[in-house]
Symmetry: D2
Subunit: 344 residues, 4 copies
């Protein structure tokens, strides 16, 4: 239920309203960027607007049409801008996130970081904790990997986004990185979502590869409901029957999400395609369809990478992609974000 306060509602009236709701067994969530809106939710029964509409200071009380109250554009009509280490995601500039699939070594990571920085990336990505289908595959360098990423940030000035696989590691990732990635395999890992909702860093939530849009927004709601309002979505392909790409990149989800939610949305063509030659065309399409940015894997020497080697671009191909995506982004009035004076 959404409660809208009157323009002149007092803090006392607001406190009294919250007390009434909590006394009735409900939870009350403030709406980001609006001191005059409150969301009231319950696990057991829907709150009744009639019980609130007559209270002092209340302008309106009504059921919202979705279960994702905080993610909904209905209660937050403007688009949100999420700051990742000073880089605005969801603002007027199109954002490029890039880096290696996994942090394999200090040398590899620093080299790629410098290369993607030089080619125009705004944010550095790289996995220190890797979700791998096989328990016998390389699982990432863990905290050592996070330290390498932090060093890469020092050298390049690029903010860092990296994945947390586990509740226990959210804090550690938040300490080293500028944003926390929740991977597609964890979109329904509710304890992890809740923990990320209590972290003090932005979260990028990747769509599960068989998740509906409603499920994605509900997963975002788990994070938002814990108080973290800096959530970005990411489309990375769904599982269908394709015989030519690893997953099927679902670009329709971008305008569909924009209609329902105020959260920014990034597109990851690398994991969707699983093959190098499709990445640039799909990144261009992501810019054209209205995404807020793309996330692309780059390796210095893709063929010797420990994971996902078939999809990583070389630095040279990545530079061409940035140029191409920049032209498309400009053609839809969403030019590449201009980089402010970098630290490095």
């Amino acid at each position: 239920m959404l409660i809208v306060l009157k323009p002149g509602a007092t803090e006392d009236q607001k406190r009294s309203l919250v007390a009434t709701a909590e006394g009735g067994g409900f939870r009350v969530h403030p709406v980001p960027d609006s001191s005059r809106r409150l969301i009231v939710t319950s696990e057991r029964r829907a709150p009744d607007p009639a019980a609130f509409i007559a209270q002092p200071g209340v302008a309106d009380a009504r059921r919202t049409s979705h279960g994702y109250e905080l993610a909904s554009r209905e209660v937050h009509p403007g688009g949100s801008v999420v700051q990742v280490g000073g880089v605005p995601v969801g603002g007027p500039g199109f954002v490029i996130i890039s880096g290696p699939c996994a942090v394999e070594s200090r040398e590899q990571t620093l080299a790629v970081a410098r290369q993607v920085r030089a080619a125009g990336a705004h944010i550095l990505r790289g996995g220190a904790f890797k979700p791998r289908t096989s328990p016998y595959s390389f699982q990432g360098l863990g905290e050592d990997g996070l330290k390498i990423l932090a060093e890469a940030r020092e050298q390049t000035g690029l903010p860092v986004i990296t994945e947390a696989l586990d509740v226990e590691h959210v804090e550690m990732v938040a300490e080293y990185a500028d944003a926390i990635q929740i991977g597609s395999r964890n979109m329904h890992n509710f304890p992890l979502l809740k923990r990320a909702g209590r972290a003090h860093k932005p979260v990028m939530l990747k769509r599960g590869f068989a998740a509906t849009l409603e499920e994605l927004l509900m997963a975002a709601e788990y994070i938002l409901a814990e108080g973290n309002s800096d959530v970005m979505l990411c489309e990375r392909g769904i599982r269908a029957f394709s015989d030519f790409s690893r997953n099927t990149l679902d670009l329709s989800v971008v305008p569909a999400a924009k209609a329902l939610t105020h959260l920014p949305i990034i597109v990851d063509p690398s994991h969707a395609a699983g093959r190098r030659d499709l990445v640039a065309p799909l990144a261009r399409a992501a810019a054209a369809v209205g995404a807020d940015g793309v996330m692309v894997e780059v390796q210095d020497d893709p063929d010797s990478a420990l994971c996902d080697s078939t999809q990583a671009l070389t630095p040279r191909l990545f530079a061409a992609l940035v140029a191409d995506v920049g032209r498309v982004a400009a053609s839809v009035d969403r030019p590449l974000l201009s980089r402010q004076s970098p630290r490095a």
Copy 2:
């Protein structure tokens, strides 16, 4: 099997080779635009290159890697350009195909034709024979609809593409229209494909909504193998689990197809999305990903249309789409095809 003739091979040598192959129970197909290449196929057993390589005039004989010999880029490395009533599809200009879902009346069709012409469409589409899920839904006007489309071409100068549902109607459609559409429900209707392969008009083959790329190319091969080399592909969405679009537009298929085949490929965002607001973003994405054109439904008064009313654009929205797609297409060096002096 592909046979490449020597530069100086004589017509006699070629005839002798064909006779040998046919005597062995094989079929021989000429390769479009290349008098020096032959494809040899068989239903029962693969032809053996060793039996041909030593013959006079033969430079090379080898198995090709795919079953779609004639559709393959391997035997026809350059992209094909298909002429639809004078409009080149697959050339340097990006093509816009538009019109109503169904031809419902003369007035409606002529009005929409003029509107899409004014907004910049290059080719007019409209269904005279409609494949409908229910036998009790409007099935199209049949030959009367074809006559209306022909009149619309007279008035606007736009070539016409329309669907043939049935072997019996291929000839009739070919008589009135400039190109024959094979719908996604008929991608595996092999008698229809073969019949279209003997028509003297270009064919646009829509991907079945659960077809792999290999199956699409094999279906194209059915048409090509009958001697019609003017085939265009069309992506219109696959069936997945989406809760926000009717089907899932699979834009990855565009660059994947371009890697395997020389045939042009068009994207139909209207049927994939099934909702109006997704059409323009997806059309922009189609231009960015490298398609040769888009096909978009327009209705004068969408809400009163007899079919697919939720996805048709108004003429005003369509004009905006053409402008937007034009900018994106230009940004990838594939500007909108400039219209030559129209007949009307």
Copy 3:
């Protein structure tokens, strides 16, 4: 719209009702096995019950809840029994349909026919017209194949079911065979469905591999609406992302279909699985889930078959399957149909 006549309604009242409906631009369909029910349909606008309910002889007139009026259990609560050359499908006995994928030769077909007859099959299947992904694959023997099938019937007494791919061949197939199969690739081939609806033989309609249940019932409705009330459905697997079977056999569709329609439903585990070892377990499951029969491919020497060799059972494996399926079928009170004195 469904019209129910009063018990004492006269033929004159009925004729007058039909005349009124047809005069209003509607089509009137008799309901199989019920002289007191009529279905009234329209392509352009839904008929209004109020215009019929007050007419003489009418007990009730109301909109039905589905678009598939004639297929619906709502208007025909009992299950239908379809006679295929004297073999009842949909009755108390579970039916086994078997034979080779394709009729490749007289010897092969007669041998397999005798073997499946000996093992307990009730109906012989075999393709004379084959839908093949590649135009260069074996396409079937055509009318020669139909003659071989007819000879096999003479020798074994088994009725024959075989596929018609094309409107032109429906008549020919109906002449030689006891039932006409519409393959999954043609479930949306509406001209073929309509033509089969005018044939005087039962039709087995296979579910398209991306078709919903509603679409399957609507496709059946196309056949029924032309006057052929002998329609059987067939589940043969849907296209999903499986890494272990060619398609995904969707057995849930059996009880779901039974809830909505009176038509019998057969399960084809061979095409769904695409591998020999899954066929018998899935055939047992089909009997347990409530199907009316199974259709299973058998080859004398599977490894030399011209199509689908990986899924065909040997006669020995098929005999074991019949015994196993028989036990399961009996356990759900649906024992194998006992074979009446065969002709051979």
Copy 4:
């Protein structure tokens, strides 16, 4: 890599072999139920059989064909039997697991437990921690729920299986329950899998709703590789395009899994179907296809349940299901497990 020791290999030889492998950076896993087999794995590079085959006591050293070494039937040809609180899963008797979706209260849980016990269930299920799409839905009673389940076990003698959502709760669930369930949304939650691999209770791993069989077996391998050899698989439906069931139950996976792995496999028709009337037919089919048991939801008063009310059976319907499934199971020589003298 699989190492097979000679029949007379000494413990010293075995220790020396392990030391060599670990010295080379590899991990060594004992094979359950076989003191003469060792699995050697590595994250970074595949171990080389040549380096081991010549060592004392080694009979054979070879690469295995899959990545799931411990789950593979190749290294453990017999099927495994997992003991859940004294109930053998995977043995000659077919197992029925039943109970409410969620533990909502002590009264509800004890009542349902007694009812499913009376109807013939072997194991009690019920969720204390619930994975819910919406953060505002009922999330379960947590430890209080576990205590209620333990009390239900005391009263009925039925062992208990319940889900752990979170690494932190694995220990707690293992303390109260006889088996730990990993839900389909967590099939790729690798930290949770690893933690369950260190628990001293059996684990039932549900297939993710878009997981391939290989991914399921790899997820099981995560548990097995940590030393817990008591793993059961569970099929609960995949996400496809169905318009009549919530998910699509994929029964083909049962025989396909049996061919690849020695682990038992259970089928959950309730979550797959999402509607009550399909549960019994699908449970019968699961018995016929060769599953080791079924898991079925029962509620005393389904319509007032806090979750998944549309799919829960009433106790009366469940009793009928047990009788029906029993007949089918007996028909495939896999009769219902006879209950030993229960504790209550």
